[in-house]
C-alpha cells in the first residue's frame, strides 16, 4: 500500500499570494500537452487525500494561517514544492507592505522551482524531484529541506518582527 503513495502521488495546489502566472502554468502541466498524469500525478482539491503540496506566491498575514492549515491536513509523509521566485523571496513583490516573504517562514519546503513564472518543464522536474524525496521520506530517511536561493531583499524591522512572531507561533 505504501508503495502506491510514491507511484501515484496526488497533488493539492494552494495559491498563496501569486499573480496567477505560476498557477496557470501549473494547471497547464496537468493537461494533455505536458501531462504529469503519466507519472501518476493527479490534481485533487482535498488536502487530506494529497501527498504533495504545491504552493505558489509569497505569504501574507491573511493566508499564512490558511497555508499552515492546508499543510497540517496532509497526512505524513508529505512533500512541499514551491513554484516561482515569489515563494523563495517575495520576488517582484518583495518590499510590498503586505508581503511577509518566503513560504518557508510558515511551512518547510522540499523543492524550490525558480522562475517568473517557471516553465512547465521546470515545474514537472520539480514535482518529479519531490516524488523522489517522498519515497525517501517514506523509507524513514530524514531529508533536509531545500537550500533556498539567495535573497537580496532585506526585510524592514517591522516585517522581521512579524516573521519571528510567526516562527515562534509555529514552534509552540
Amino acid at each position: 500500500m505504501f508503495n502506491a503513495v510514491s507511484k501515484s502521488p496526488w497533488v493539492v495546489h494552494f495559491n498563496c499570494n501569486s499573480c496567477n502566472g505560476c498557477d496557470i502554468e501549473f494547471l497547464a502541466c496537468l493537461t494533455p500537452h505536458y501531462d504529469v498524469e503519466r507519472f501518476g500525478i493527479l490534481h485533487i482539491g482535498n488536502p487530506k487525500h494529497a501527498d504533495v503540496l504545491v504552493v505558489t506566491g509569497s505569504v501574507n498575514n491573511r493566508n499564512a494561517r490558511v497555508l499552515q492549515n492546508v499543510y497540517n491536513q496532509i497526512p505524513d509523509p508529505k512533500v512541499v514544492v514551491a513554484m516561482g521566485v515569489c515563494t523563495s523571496s517575495g520576488g517582484v513583490f518583495a518590499g510590498c507592505y503586505n508581503i511577509l516573504g518566503n513560504v518557508d517562514l510558515v511551512i518547510p519546503v522540499d523543492v524550490f522551482v525558480p522562475g517568473c513564472p517557471p516553465r512547465p518543464e521546470a515545474m514537472i522536474d520539480g514535482i518529479v524531484k519531490a516524488v523522489g524525496i517522498l519515497e525517501r521520506k517514506r523509507k524513514g530517511e530524514i531529508f533536509p529541506t531545500a537550500p533556498k536561493p539567495l535573497c537580496k531583499f532585506k526585510p524592514s524591522e517591522e516585517q522581521s518582527a512579524e516573521k519571528t512572531a510567526i516562527k515562534e507561533e509555529k514552534t509552540v
Binding site: 502554468e25 501574507n60 491573511r62
Partner: protein, 359 residues
C-alpha cells in the same frame, strides 16, 4: 422560521483556482445571500508602483495578473502615452491588437475549461486546454515568453515580429479553429452541460446595469458594451462588434465567450492582413505629468487605470479598477436564491480573477 446556516466556500476549494472566501447564508439547500471575504491575495502592488519608476512599472503592472498580463501593461502604457503626448507607430498598434487577442483567446479557453471542470466534465477541460497550448506556443514564438510577455513598452512595443512568424501564427489559428469546431458543439449542445448551465445564476439586464457588471457578464445579460468598439490601439480600423446574448444565465455567459473566441480569430486575421510596415516604437525624453484615466477591454471586461504623474520618474498615484472587482456585486445577486450545488458553477461562470481584484 428555520435558523440560517453559514457555510464558508473557500478560500481553498476544488473549483477555485484562487483563494477567495464566500460565506454562504443558507436556508436548507438554498442560498439566501453570500458575503465575500477578500484579502488572501492582497500584495499592495499599487503602493509598490509608486516606489518604482514609470518604466519599471510597465513590467510590474504585468504581474497584477498572469492571465491578462499583456492587456494590463497595454492599458498602463496607453495612459502614460496620453499623458506624455506620444503616439505609437501603426505597426506597434497592430502588434498590440494581435497580442491582446491572443491573450483573450487563451483566457477564454482557460475560463471555459475551468467551467467544464467545475461541473465535472474533466475530459472537455483537458481538450480545451490542449487547444490553448497552440495559442501559448504562438505567443512564445512571437515574444519569447508564455505567460508574462513583457513586450509592451511605453511608446510602442519592444519586439518586432517577422512576416514568416505572422504567417505561422495564421497557421496556428487554422489548427485552433479546427479544434474549436470539434469541441464547441460538445460544450454548447450537450444535454448534461445544458442541465448544469441553462437557467442557473440568472442576472437581469436591469440588475446587471445597476450593479455595474462588465465584460462577458454584462454582454450575456443583453448590455452591448465592449470597449474595443471605442477603437483604442488599432481596433478602430478593424471590424469589432460586441457579442450580445440576452438570457443572462451561465449558459449565455459561456456562449458569449465561445462567440468571442471566434471573433478573436477573425480580428487577428484582419490585423495580420492589414499590418503596415515601419518602426515599432517612438523615442521620448519627457516624464509623465498630469492625471489621466485609461481604459481597455480585458477578457473579463473593462479595466480602468487612474494615473497621476508629477513630472518626476515616480508616479504619484496609480489606481486600478479591474473587471472582477466590478463583477463581484453582480455575482452576489446571482447567488441569492440559487442551490448550494450550483454555487461553484456560478462563481466560475463570471471567470473570477482574484489576484487582479486584490492586487
Amino acid at each position: 422560521m428555520a435558523k440560517n446556516t453559514i457555510i464558508p466556500f473557500g478560500p481553498q476549494h476544488p473549483v477555485l483556482p484562487e483563494p477567495i472566501q464566500l460565506r454562504l447564508v443558507l436556508d436548507e439547500e438554498r442560498v439566501v445571500s453570500a458575503i465575500p471575504v477578500v484579502g488572501y491575495v492582497h500584495r499592495g502592488l499599487e503602493k509598490l508602483a509608486e516606489q518604482k519608476d514609470f518604466l519599471q512599472d510597465t513590467y510590474l503592472i504585468e504581474r497584477i495578473c498572469g492571465i491578462c498580463s499583456f492587456i494590463h501593461s497595454l492599458t498602463y502604457s496607453m495612459g502614460i502615452e496620453s499623458m506624455m503626448g506620444l503616439t505609437p507607430p501603426p505597426r506597434a498598434q497592430y502588434l498590440r491588437v494581435i497580442w491582446s487577442e491572443l491573450h483573450r483567446m487563451h483566457s477564454h479557453l482557460l475560463a471555459t475549461g475551468l467551467l467544464a471542470d467545475s461541473f465535472g466534465f474533466e475530459n472537455l477541460f483537458m481538450q480545451l486546454w490542449r487547444t490553448r497550448e497552440h495559442i501559448m506556443d504562438a505567443m512564445e514564438a512571437t515574444t519569447g515568453a508564455r505567460v508574462l510577455l513583457g513586450t509592451c513598452c511605453i511608446g510602442g512595443v519592444r519586439k518586432d515580429v517577422s512576416e514568416e512568424l505572422l504567417k505561422s501564427v495564421l497557421q496556428t489559428l487554422v489548427t485552433v479553429e479546427k479544434e474549436l469546431d470539434e469541441h464547441m458543439p460538445v460544450l454548447l449542445n450537450d444535454y448534461s452541460v445544458k442541465q448544469r448551465l441553462c437557467g442557473v445564476g440568472i442576472l437581469d439586464k436591469q440588475v446587471a446595469y445597476e450593479r455595474g457588471a462588465v465584460g462577458p457578464t454584462a454582454r450575456a445579460s443583453g448590455i452591448a458594451m465592449d470597449l474595443r468598439t471605442q477603437g483604442y490601439a488599432a481596433y478602430g480600423e478593424l471590424d469589432v462588434e460586441p457579442m450580445v446574448e440576452t438570457d443572462g444565465d451561465c449558459y449565455a455567459r459561456t456562449k458569449v465567450r465561445v462567440r468571442e473566441l471566434y471573433q478573436s480569430l477573425n480580428i487577428i486575421r484582419q490585423a495580420i492582413g492589414k499590418i503596415p510596415s515601419g518602426s515599432i516604437n517612438v523615442p521620448f525624453k519627457t516624464k509623465p505629468d498630469g492625471e489621466v484615466i485609461s481604459r481597455a477591454e480585458q477578457p473579463r471586461g473593462e479595466v480602468l487605470y487612474y494615473l497621476k504623474g508629477n513630472g518626476t520618474d515616480m508616479l504619484e498615484r496609480l489606481r486600478v479598477r479591474t473587471p472582477t472587482f466590478a463583477n463581484i456585486p453582480p455575482v452576489l445577486a446571482m447567488l441569492a436564491g440559487c442551490e448550494l450545488a450550483d454555487v461553484g458553477v456560478i462563481v466560475i461562470s463570471i471567470d473570477p480573477c482574484i489576484s487582479c481584484t486584490e492586487r
